[in-house]
């Protein structure tokens, strides 16, 4: 229990434009579950990716069983017995489960280059059995649910006889029953002396499973504490521990009563169930909920990016049919995707062109030639008003920081004369300092009479920024709160109102699960 497996000291790591880790440290003992917590961008994943050989550190020391080690790649980490289960799943969808588990170190057959498929399957089956997983090793990975795939990844990590197992947000996509199963496996591993690093945002969970908790903030080490004795709000204050939210501007007061957008009975399969809400002029409407609650789906449905089964959308009281993003843009809607790089920006193009992308028509002459100087003028205007930090409008967008990229997207929609802006996770992956600028900007826009829907997984952000908050869970709107009455606890209560709990087929688990599910507070 007291053997120190891993010790990391003075770790620095920079990415272009971001200092991800500054003098970070971490220690893992054999037979402990050690939680690593912090806000988004605190550096947890980066630190662990260094430990598992995916990134190389810029500076610092790593000791494995007391000896200083350089970990040059995933293979070296595996040799040392360090495995990481990534947040984004890393299975080969076209291979079977057994083939996935043994990829890179398949048992060989009669000849050294031949595979012994039977052995691969048999060993995987034994492995699954040990983990109490009822899966057929011959199933293709693409046929499994995300949760099952996660289990397979754990099985794969275990098959290395790992001494160190790093789990990055393992429960993010799991049901309560599946989480129980995962915890059972983790406890079993702990009793065998495996050291487990557990990265999670679900603080209540940590109290159940972890021995120690290390808190990180802004790429730096804050403290390591004993999990059993520390109250949750103490962890939160260590994680937040700065004044950034306090300095967030006051909400604009000029709340109009005019309803600009009304959504009625939006339905699509199991993703959207009877979604009803309205948005007023100059209002910031927060959308809260857990991952996969259906918030992005609502946004995309309103924007015409995905089809719906049924539902009506009213703009300024008039019913509109939006079946394509083009129609949405024409109607003054703007959507700022959570994945800026994939959906929001052409990162290989410059600021000027990105700025004009949603409204090219404005910049075309009657014969269809692009009016460059007009485009440049408009881009420069927004670079100034949005305070986009770029040497010129000719800078390629990929060379800007996350916060400035987000501003370019905002500029794009303002250029397109959007009056209703849907922000999907507007501050994800953005530096701490830039966040407050984005908040300022949102407020200003609302003050100018723009109406804003803000989808965010960061509760403090939602609480600070919203006039009203809509909470979703599993495709339904489960609650609506006014800014004055909203608290993190109330939001989380609504966010975990799973309809599953009322279904009979989950009865056998509900006795254990109901209690924790209701009080789980996902702090960010």
């Amino acid at each position: 229990m007291d053997t120190v497996l891993v010790k990391m000291e003075g770790i620095d790591k920079s990415f272009p434009g971001v200092r991800a880790l500054i003098n970070a440290q971490f220690e893992l003992r054999a037979g402990e579950v050690h939680a690593l917590v912090g806000e988004n961008g605190a550096g947890k994943s980066t630190l662990m990716k260094i430990l598992s050989g995916i990134y190389t550190k810029d500076a610092g020391h790593i000791y494995y069983l007391g000896e200083e080690t350089e970990i040059d790649g995933p293979r070296e980490a595996q040799h040392l017995g360090i495995s990481m289960i990534h947040q984004e799943l890393n299975l080969m969808p076209h291979l079977t489960l057994a083939q996935n588990v043994f990829i890179g170190r398949e048992p060989r057959g009669a000849l050294p280059f031949m595979l012994d498929e039977r052995k691969i399957n048999a060993q995987t089956e034994a492995l699954f059995e040990r983990m109490n997983l009822r899966l057929n090793p011959g199933t293709k990975a693409s046929e499994l649910t995300v949760a099952k795939q996660q289990m397979v990844e754990i099985a794969k990590a275990l098959s290395f006889d790992s001494q160190v197992l790093i789990m990055d947000e393992p429960t993010a996509a799991l049901t309560n029953a599946e989480i129980d199963e995962l915890f059972r496996i983790i406890r079993d591993l702990r009793s065998k002396g495996v050291g487990i690093v557990y990265i999670s945002h679900r603080l209540e969970e940590l109290k159940q499973i972890c021995d120690r908790i290390t808190v990180m903030r802004d790429g730096q080490y804050v403290d390591t504490v004993d999990a059993a004795s520390i109250p949750i709000d103490r962890i939160i204050s260590m994680m937040v521990g700065r004044t950034i939210y306090e300095s967030a501007p006051e909400l604009p007061e000029n709340r109009d009563t005019e309803t600009v957008l009304e959504v009625r009975n939006l339905n699509r399969g199991k993703e959207l169930i009877d979604v009803n809400f309205s948005l007023k002029k100059g209002e910031i409407l927060g959308f809260a909920g857990l991952m996969g609650a259906g918030r992005t789906e609502v946004a995309r449905a309103i924007f015409g990016a995905d089809p719906v089964d049924s539902g009506e959308i009213y703009l300024y009281g008039k019913r509109v049919g939006i079946h394509h993003p083009r129609t949405a843009v024409q109607n003054g809607l703007g959507y700022l995707s959570e994945d800026r790089k994939r959906y929001g920006l052409a990162t290989g193009l410059n600021v000027e062109i990105n700025n004009a992308l949603a409204s090219m028509g404005q910049f075309l002459s009657s014969v269809g030639v692009v009016n460059d100087s007009k485009m440049e003028e408009r881009a420069e205007q927004y670079v100034e008003t949005l305070a986009i930090k770029t040497p010129s409008v000719n800078q390629l967008v990929k060379n800007l920081s996350g916060g400035n990229q987000q501003k370019v997207v905002i500029g794009k929609w303002l250029t397109a004369d959007s009056d209703i802006l849907i922000f999907d996770e507007p501050t994800r992956g953005i530096d701490v300092g830039a966040k407050s600028e984005i908040y300022h900007l949102l407020n200003e826009l609302a003050g100018q009479g723009k109406s804003i829907i803000m989808i965010s997984s960061e509760l403090p952000e939602i609480l600070r920024m919203s006039h009203r908050i809509i909470v979703m869970c599993e495709g339904r709107i489960t609650g609506e709160l006014d800014a004055t009455e909203a608290t993190q606890e109330r939001i989380m209560t609504y966010a975990t109102m799973r309809s599953v709990l009322t279904d009979q087929d989950d009865d056998n688990h509900s006795t254990d699960d109901a209690a924790p599910a209701a009080v789980t507070v996902s702090q960010k």
């Binding site: 790649g73 293979r75 099952k148 599953v500 989950d506």
Partner: protein, 326 residues
Amino acid sequence: MASAATTAAPRQSILRSDAAQKLLAFGALILIFAFFSFASPVFFTWENIKGILLATAVNGILALGVTFIIITAGIDLSVGTVMTLCAVMTGVAITNLGLPIPVGILVSLLTGIAAGSVNGFFISRMGIPPFIATLGMMMMARGLALVISGVKPIYFNDAPGFRNLTMGTLVADIPNAVIILFVAAIIAAFILGKTVLGRYAVAMGSNEEATRLSGVNVANWKTAVYALGGFFSGLAGVVIASRLNSAQPALGMGYELDAIAAVVIGGTSLSGGQGTILGTVIGAFIISTLTNGLRILSVPQEWQMVVTGAIVILAVYLDIVRRRRQ
């Protein structure tokens, strides 16, 4: 458990569509055969079927190599001209240097492997996209073939056994070239299904980053896959040289597209991760059967190109439909 039900449902439908794709290619071949047999009495004769088999040999062998490469989500545009280069090298070895036939074959295979390895080196070590790297190799191999041959065909008149390599018969009345195609296909299927190389080809095409994170040396294995593609080009080089009893240095352009078409018709996904050797062989047969049948019916050749093109589009579209369903 609720999730048990949800996993069971997609599994069935996928299986159904997977099988559908394989049946589709095979069914299409049968259909084409049936159609031409009805349309012309000479089509379904042993002599003509032998002609179709023989006409499939070179393209089929090239397509085997391309299958592996496309499974890794890559592409190889150089197979045709590398084949020509290999044929020329065989000619140099057997005719110009007077070496024995087996040595000539070995030279061809080694030349193919070398060219494929260079492709792999460009792609996995220098980071050049496969399309560009193999386009470059296509031109280099063409140039080299012309330079080495002195822009003249090399004949194999001094090695009388060489032509029998493909045109002789060992089994019944089937030309050896066809036997070579089938044996090569069986070997390819074995490599794809039963060896580490095949496994990593699928893994890289399925999720290259995950494969890398699993500790697989992706660069080396990718190079090996392109080298394997080169090996099949070398084998095709021997077959074409033997059949024409000469190494024709100006040949080979356009062969890569026929090979890619065969692979795609056979259901291999250009986005990587899936594909079968059987499918590729069927794809190659569909192309040569169409060519043969439309010739027999004296359909203008321009239309034959249109038909083949339409079939390629259809095959890829079906692949997209299938993946969308997943």
